[in-house]
Structures are given as C-alpha cells and as structure tokens.
C-alpha cells in the first residue's frame, strides 16, 4: 500500500512558496525534485505536468491543488508539497485560490501507485483538521508527521 508520508521527504517540501502563479509554483516544486536527482529530464517533466493543467483543473477545492502527471521523466512515484499563504489560482471549480499544493508524478509502469496516491491524498485533504495542520506546520518534518498520523 502507498504511504504518502513515506513517498515525500523533507527536501521535497516548501513551506513558503516564492511564486504566486500556477506555472511558477509547479516549476518551483519540480526544481525540488530535480535537485534531489529524482528527475531525468526537467523539461519533459514540467511539460507533462503542464499538459494536464491545460485540460484539467487540478485544484480540487477547499484551498487544495494536486497537479499531477504520468511521465517518462522519472522512474518512481514522486511527491512534493508547497504552501502558499497568499494562495495560487489553480482554476478550482469553487473559484478559490489554493494554499496547499501537492505535486505527484510517476512513470507509466507505476500507474496503479500513482492513482492510489492521488486518491489517498485527495481523501486525506478533505479533512478539515488535516488542512489546518498543514497550514500551521512550522517545519517540513511536522508536515511529514501530520501526514503520517493521518494514514
């Protein structure tokens, strides 16, 4: 079973995103993964994520967005988290900006893990206490602890 708290690491977390627009935020989160040496081709990775963004609103409402893609630019399930106090427009159906942004990517052969991770995260983030905890967390480790407790 996929555990979100195990798929994310401290270095894959930004508590205060520098950019406030969708593409910038995605690039910021992707660069974390690139720095961790987890992305083989940054350009392809970004382009696969943005391709989905053009067709789907990955803002699931409640101040949450989960940009995601299946991509050949990585060999494993990748997860990054960014938090924006100001909020970012992810075209959520409820029209509200997203403050908690999780980026998920996986290669084609890990499709079932990828779908499972998306489902699990979406379910976790519907809980108000979970969102409140992530909004108030003061360190990357605290974010991981909150995710761990919720699983």
């Amino acid at each position: 079973m996929i555990r979100i708290s195990e798929a994310i690491c401290e270095k894959g977390i930004i508590l205060d995103l520098k950019t406030h627009e969708k593409i910038g935020v995605i690039k910021e989160l992707v660069s974390l993964m690139v720095n961790l040496g987890l992305v083989a081709d940054e350009e392809t990775f970004c382009s696969d994520i943005l391709k989905r963004e053009n067709l789907e609103s990955t803002g699931i409402g409640l101040g949450v967005a989960i940009p995601h893609a299946r991509t050949a630019a990585t060999h494993d399930l990748l997860l990054a988290f960014g938090r924006s106090t100001q909020g970012v427009d992810f075209n959520s159906l409820d029209g509200k900006p997203s403050h908690l942004i999780f980026l998920i990517a996986a290669p084609e052969e890990k499709k079932s893990h990828y779908i499972m991770a998306l489902a699990r995260l979406s379910k976790m983030l519907r809980k108000e206490d979970m969102r409140a905890g992530l909004s108030k967390a003061t360190s990357a480790q605290e974010v991981i602890d909150i995710l761990k407790r919720a699983e």
Binding site: R52, L55, E56, S57, I60, G61, R70, L93, K111, I115, M116, L118, A119, R120, S122, K123, R126
Partner: protein, 134 residues
C-alpha cells in the same frame, strides 16, 4: 450549446467501459465534464465497522474518479473531479446550480429517482446512459 456536463458516478456500480458514451458525448460537445461521486455524510454515531466501510468507499470513489480522469486526459477532454457528502439527488442539484451545469447525466439507476431529480434540476436536462440500449 452545452459548456458544462455533470456526470454522477458510483464506484463499484458504474464500469469504466460504460464511460465511453459519456466521453464520446463530451468530445463531440467540446464541453467540460464534471465527474461527481457522492458519499453519505459522516454520522455522529458511526460504529468502528461503519467508519471503516465509509473510509473504504471514499478511497474507492477517489480512485475511480482519478481513473476516469486518466482516460479523459488521453482523449483530451476537459475534466474536473468532485467528491461530495450528502443525499445523492440533493447534492447533484446543488452542484448543477453552483457550477452552472448545462447538462446532467448518470449511469446509475440505483440511487436516483428520475422524476424527483428532474424536479430538483429545474430546466437542466437529465441524460441516463444505458449500456444495454433503450
């Protein structure tokens, strides 16, 4: 003519293969599809077993929604996913109203009474997909 098409689905009841009709229609209409799953609201006095069953249903519903999204993406269809809690018909009607849905559709005959839902939808048409034909 139709800009937003809502489709109510039930994980375990609606098959992925049944969605072809919906996706064909969305593709022809070039509209955004909002796929909605509804689960019962969290009661105050749920037993451990009931809580577990509810959690499993929510897990399954999200998984089903993302599987649909994946297929829609391959066909370049604009899609949004929603999972809400509440009474099925009331939730469908509320989503239709809140998100300016022009056409409502479903595969499920189990949780919906066509007459009562149509009354709640006012002027928005309701389309029932039937895999086996009329």
């Amino acid at each position: 003519m139709f800009r937003r098409l809502l489709c109510y689905v039930e994980a375990g009841e609606t098959g992925l293969d049944e969605l072809e009709g919906l996706l064909d229609l969305a593709s022809q209409l070039r509209c955004r599809v909002i796929v909605l799953a509804v689960i019962a609201p969290e009661g105050k006095k749920l037993t451990k077993k009931e809580t577990q069953a509810r959690e499993t249903l929510e897990d399954r519903s999200w998984k089903f929604l993302y599987e649909i999204e994946d297929i829609a993406f391959e066909r370049e269809i604009k899609i949004s996913l929603m999972l809400e809690e509440g009474d099925v018909e009331d939730t469908i009607a509320a989503v239709v109203k809140s998100y300016n849905v022009d056409l409502c559709s479903t595969f499920s005959y189990k949780s919906i009474h066509a007459g009562s839902l149509l009354a709640k939808l006012s002027t928005v048409p309701l389309l029932f997909f039937n895999k086996e034909g009329p």
